[in-house]
Symmetry: C2
Subunit: 302 residues, 2 copies
């Protein structure tokens, strides 16, 4: 089974209390695809500009990532620049240059159109919907990520695509904004009424919670000695989560719980170095060991 | 086995987004003693004034709470008044009247002096130390709670008592303040170097983490539909935690993990009504059911 990943491949400039990187490969689809590729094969759909070199492309090589859907067009790639606060709980966007993303119209190669597991990374909701329309049959599981920008500026498009989505991945403040409810149980219930039968609310250093009907699963964040760069943690979570489900081929409660842990594992690795540096050099053994660590820090007997 | 609980019995005035109560029974020792009494018998040491009536005293009756150490002296009881922010993550103290607490000198009745499990609630660190000096022999487990006020104003006394403490219960901002470290793994390691072999860092709606050497245990907070009043949640956690350990008579890893869950259970009940209203009317069956709920929301298989 393959996972379809749609989103951005970008260049980022990032400043955290631990350092400053003026230009590095990033983008939601890059983090998600690399994270997912440790679990399942990935089909990537994104657009890059002429500044995306063979060397940049090497991030996808040697992994089970199909890049036939990675379009290269004239112009420059999407660029984002941001700075994190001292405690890294807040970030300020310093610059956003859409560049080739402004004209992005995701096209699924014919070979991708039978995809059963789909992750729609954070892009314009109308484009996310267009991806779904290109699938030959109804997918098993569609997960979607979005952000405050679209909740504020493209709410009706977002609500249209949400009707076709099974799992919404969203952070706590966005969940509150989208639902108009501060309490997260209430927020999740309201969002489930918009379409997604499950909502994953990401709370950064406090972990992530899966709300599915009346069912709950709380995944902790792994306490880490140092967080170097939170960029891409949420997308790495999404990649681990969806990669895990794609590999299992199942969407039952037990597989969803395991996917929450695999998402948390990949998120915890992502922040340990700048950009994709930690994520790109992992082994399956390291991933399994960290998943067992999550088990160790949560198990108890009554 | 009995748990010795030392701390405040007070009256509180509390305002939250869900209501306002001008005067209700409160105090760290009250919450901790009532919470612990569902697990083990409790020996209470505190001071109240003449305004503490027979009706107020009924909170302790019908439970296994020994109140021979509850001193009644001329004057008024300790009074605290506070208001919570809209999201209840912050609170402002509006008024503090020490009253009889100003002259409090905790005296252990002879029958209490063999106590092996001790909870030192949040009072002046020098008084916490004086309690320990009155014990006939070295206790099995001493847990201590404190606050920013003592970290700022009585640090050397606090560090003196910490040398005799096994478990420090503290919230995240206080852990950072006491250790001078923002990262909580580093903060916990620094605090362990001050004496306590274990540190429980309480993170309110985000749960609590136990740091013990290199061992970690992360307890989630139960997502609740509505939090009415966060007052006493931390003390109820401490009561459930220490009551559970006292009942088991053990301090091994498995018992500490179970105690973290029992603490979280009692904290989750405490906030469901104002003051002690929810906590005082629980059954063992409800407590067990909620503990199983914590198990349900955290269990997974890899």
């Amino acid at each position: 089974m393959s996972l379809l990943v749609v989103g951005t491949v970008a260049f980022d400039a990032v400043e955290t209390p631990h350092g400053k990187v003026p230009r590095m490969l990033g983008g939601a689809a890059t983090y998600a695809a690399v994270a997912a590729s440790y679990f399942a094969s990935v089909r990537l759909v994104a657009v890059v500009g002429e500044d995306f070199t063979t060397r940049d492309h090497s991030i996808f090589r040697g992994r089970s990532i199909d890049t036939r859907g990675l379009e290269r067009v004239p112009g420059r790639s999407f660029f984002w620049s941001g700075k994190y606060s001292q405690d890294m709980n807040e970030r300020t966007t310093l610059d956003t240059q859409l560049n080739v993303l402004a004209e992005f119209d995701p096209k699924l190669p014919a070979e991708y159109r039978d995809s059963r597991f789909v992750f729609l990374g954070n892009i314009q909701p109308s484009l996310q919907l267009r991806v779904l329309h290109q699938l030959r049959r109804k997918p098993r599981l569609v997960a979607l990520d979005t952000m405050n920008y679209w909740i504020e500026g493209a709410l009706s498009d977002l609500r249209a695509v949400l009707r076709h989505v099974h799992v919404l991945l969203i952070n706590d403040s966005e969940a509150r904004q989208l639902s108009g409810r501060h309490n997260l149980l209430q927020a999740a219930a309201r969002i489930q009424a918009m379409g997604p039968r499950a909502v994953v609310i990401k709370r950064g250093e406090h972990g992530a919670t899966l709300y599915r009907g009346q069912q709950l699963f709380v995944a902790p964040a792994l306490p880490l000695h140092r967080v170097w760069d939170p960029t891409g943690a949420g997308d790495s979570f999404a990649g681990g989560f969806m990669g895990s489900l794609t590999a299992s081929g199942k969407t039952d409660d037990s597989s969803l719980r395991r996917a929450m842990i695999h998402g948390s594992v990949m998120g915890s690795f992502a922040v340990e170095k700048f950009g994709l540096e930690r994520l790109r050099r992992l082994t399956r053994k390291q991933i399994h060991a960290r998943a067992r660590k999550f088990h160790h820090i949560t198990r108890f007997t009554l």
